[in-house]
Symmetry: C2
Subunit: 198 residues, 2 copies
DNA sequence: AAATATATATGCGAAGCAGTACAAAATCAA
DNA sequence: TTGATTTTGTACTGCTTCGCATATATATTT
């Protein structure tokens, strides 16, 4: 039995992805509801009805991004391949994502745009914090397995090393948005893999 | 002989520092000229006359921040002390700076606020890019000296290792703004020093 | 078919914003 | 003292923004 009333014409996930692209390019504050409305194909009242105000919409895009990113990361770091290979794949796909735009490189949505708002908007800070923590935890879990399996030294501290691996990810995001060329990012990734998997 | 006309009542460097604090807390787009005017004690026409439009003012604050940061960094990495000690000092002062605010931690001005604007504002992207490159170059120079002096292995690549050391700095900036506690940042710094100076 | 429920479309109004024109004030030169 | 020069203060204009109020469209329920 369908819901009463006029059926919705938009798909929430699709609209969220379109809004995400706007935020990704111009950040939260510089993204107007008009621009978001045009990108999603939803007019402003529909946007408000579906997601609430601009901050709520932004947070929804961040959560979608975080969840998709975490899922992709778990797949890459599944443990099916050697650690060094999986880490290299992780960084390679991050670089691809960060440089994907046809215009200027957009880096990471969370690091590139949520960081600014995090200071004055606690809700954004929470999503950012949880996002970073989640990504870090996935890496740490993989490193823990690597220690168990003897891929890296038994005396290494997975939590500490995960912080380093995450730091490289953060740096890739920042550098990409600053306009660093792909070669430079790839070099950092290569060095990092070598350092983490000696 | 003094300049003709009514004397200036503001000090450009002081005003720039005040404007910087506003941008640091709320970012470029969310900082209104009214807020900047109030913080600097200069009214809007004076601001415009002294620095140009909002973007020009923002870039001036970024450049001031970058120059002061580079100077402090060169002093810390002077080479007067062992590499491990100087690196630890570098990270410690970065953490202090990133957590200095009484309100929510502000991280690094460039990474935290210029990253967002970098995509749509080439002038900002240039300052950010040059800033990151300059900080990286100072670290690289110190590592080069460390190789010469035998502080680290003769076979290490200073440029590659500098990218890693910079990445830790970037990560500290991001994590600080995301609300990471000091302990967590200090742990990352400790691990990084241990990894870079084995 | 009528009533009801939900979604979409248009448009209005209050507020905020950036940049600037113009007048007032303060100093120097003659 | 008078005029020139530069900074400061006020106020204005044109624009954007957000949120909401109202009207319209499309479905289900009775």
């Amino acid at each position: 039995m369908r819901k009463r009333g006029r059926p919705i014409e938009y798909d929430a996930q699709t609209a969220l992805a379109a809004a995400r692209d706007v935020f990704w390019a111009t950040g939260f504050s510089a993204s107007s509801l008009d621009a978001l409305s045009e990108a999603t194909g939803m007019n402003r009242p529909s946007l408000a009805g579906a997601f609430g105000d601009k901050e709520a919409l932004y947070i929804a895009t961040l959560e979608q991004y975080r969840d998709q990113g975490a899922a992709a990361m778990k797949e890459t770091l599944s443990g099916a391949r050697p650690l060094a290979r999986e880490l290299a794949l992780l960084y390679a796909s991050a670089i691809d994502l960060y440089l994907a735009s046809k215009d200027a490189a957009r880096g990471c949505l969370m690091i590139g745009t949520a960081s600014v708002e995090a200071v004055s908007r606690p809700a954004v800070r929470n999503v950012l914090s949880q996002g970073l923590a989640e990504f870090n935890a996935i890496i740490e879990e993989r490193l823990r397995k690597a220690v168990r399996d003897g891929e890296i030294g038994k005396d290494t501290d997975p939590a500490a090393l995960a912080q380093i691996a995450s730091a490289v990810l953060h740096s890739l995001a920042v550098r990409a948005r600053a306009g660093d060329p792909r070669k430079s990012l790839e070099r950092l990734a290569r060095t990092a893999v070598g350092l983490i998997c000696p």
